[in-house]
């Protein structure tokens, strides 16, 4: 069994890991659809989006691993960061780790997170970190496709049959509870903004709501009320689902110490 690595508590590193882990964990969840989607075209589309997200997370984790070396910790590669961190050191938003649910749940979560990621990548193109800006430039194109795909399906499901509408409303009500986490600032945002690394997450709230409003309006789905519940995945305190996800994802690296893959 390989023991876990420890990450320095540097805010800029945490800022990168929040984004990297959100991409990775959403990619992991979307990968679960492979072979099980409602139609073959969607099987391919969901796998393709998973692939994009894994690619984005690889680039970000590589960058984060270099940052870790620079800010007093050890330097790590993408796989050490993905497979050898404990749950509490994972910084993805809780929304990304929720079980994949039915197709409506997956579509609406993709809509929320791809819209959020699109807005994030747009801003990160101006990052003071040239590497991050380059990653954002490539990822932005992918996020636009993901958002378009999710929006098209959200409208079909919201304005489809009674059943698809009922399922969409149920999914939306659950998912919406986890959205405040996407827009609340803390010391990590303050440090990232000060360094010109990227935007404070709160800056995304207004444009995100406007875009969600437009799609949900077309889908004839009501925007749920603002929740009082607060999820805390980005601070390392996850839902109970996260442990199982990591146990599955990390088991080979943990069980074969010194292995080469």
């Amino acid at each position: 069994m390989i023991s876990s690595i420890k990450i320095p508590a540097a805010p800029e590193l945490t800022y990168l890991l929040r984004l990297a882990d959100t991409c990775l964990i959403l990619g992991q969840r979307l990968g679960e659809w492979c072979g099980h989607a409602p139609i073959l075209e969607e099987d391919i589309a969901l796998s393709n989006m998973a692939l994009d997200l894994i690619g984005q997370s690889r680039a970000l984790l590589t960058l984060a691993g270099q940052h870790s070396g620079k800010c007093g910790g050890e330097g790590y590669d993408e796989d050490q960061l993905a497979f050898l961190r404990d749950e509490i050191d994972y910084r993805n938003v809780t929304l990304a780790e929720l079980p994949r649910g039915d197709f409506a749940f997956t579509v609406l979560r993709n809509l929320m997170l791809s819209t959020w990621l699109k807005l994030m990548w747009e801003r990160l193109r101006d990052s003071s970190d040239a590497e991050l800006a380059a990653i954002a430039g490539k990822a932005l194109k992918e996020a636009r496709y993901h958002q378009q795909h999710a929006a098209d399906w959200a409208v079909r499901l919201g304005d489809g049959t009674d059943e698809s509408r009922r399922r969409s409303e149920a999914a939306l009500a659950t998912l919406w509870l986890y959205t405040p986490e996407l827009f609340e600032d803390d010391a990590v945002d303050a440090a990232a903004t000060a360094a010109g690394l990227g935007p404070a997450w709160s800056q995304l709230h207004e444009p995100w709501l406007a875009e969600m409003d437009e799609v949900l309006g077309e889908a004839k789905l009501a925007v749920p009320p603002a929740p009082t519940f607060r999820s805390t995945g980005k601070r390392g305190l996850h839902s109970e689902h996260m442990g199982y996800l990591l146990a599955e994802m990390q088991y080979l690296q943990r069980a074969y110490p010194g292995g080469a893959w």
Partner: protein, 334 residues
Amino acid sequence: MYTQAMDTMRDEGGDKPALRTAEEAQLQQRFDNRIDAGDFIEAKDWMPENYRKTLLRQISQHAHSEIVGMLPEGNWITRAPTLKRKAILLAKVQDEGGHGLYLYAAAETLGSSRDQMLDALHTGKAKYSSIFNYPTLTWADVGAIGWLVDGAAIMNQVPICRCSFAPYARAMVRICREESFHQRQGFDSLLVMMKQGTDAQRAMVQEAVNRWWWPCLMMFGPPDDQSPNSAQGMRWGIKRVSNDTLRQKFVDAAVQQAEVLGVTFPDPDLRWNEANQHWDYGTIDWSEFWRVVGGDGPCNRERLADRVKAWEDGEWVREAALAHARKSELKEAA
């Protein structure tokens, strides 16, 4: 992936010349001449009914094999050991889905809808390659499938690129390119574990190879002398090379690759034959092959149940998409 349709289907009586009119006889003659001349047949061309039926069965079974084949490998996507391997595996399984799409489209040109073909799969009327009824128990199975199963598939599929039915041949050209890539990736994954990995990893690879070797030899179908439909397939230019010839070619290539990897095959009779310049191999357990084809392999029930579940769970999604499309049409018409 490969379909063994030609060898496991019922005998439909070949192309018995049960022709009624002089015109049909002429069409049949023209068709035969084109086949003999090595011409390709297009979807809109006249073709004998049994040629159409045989191809429809083979192509749809090939498509089903791609789709069912996503399951054993997809089983490891969430557990892939590195992010690079996860990306490679996702891309590979996605490619299989793409192959399924082209093949269903090629089969549709012969007059069957995708829904009809899927219904035949889900009700057990249509077969798929029985190799996918074996389980993927360790990560090394993913590499072994790439190396051996895709390797066997390529041996089978390259000749189909010259199949007399042009839409199938065209689909196969692209599919073969992607399969070759998959095979190299599978081999590379095993090579890394064997050359740079630990003893535990090497043992995992050998154990996987032991399980996949014999089922892979079965992928080429029954021996030539027990393959009654092959002759008709050859006559029509659907099948170009016999089962045993392809199997031998596969064994000869795999033995050399196994030496590079440093793994052995579980066959005490495997030895070089100086006289015919090929590798001799032991007796294949055809009773196992027919048992798995007949539905009693290790995973037949799970594979079919998974496909049926995905289809049934997705019914409300497909209905919603249709309902929304109807609403949009009405709105545009108004």
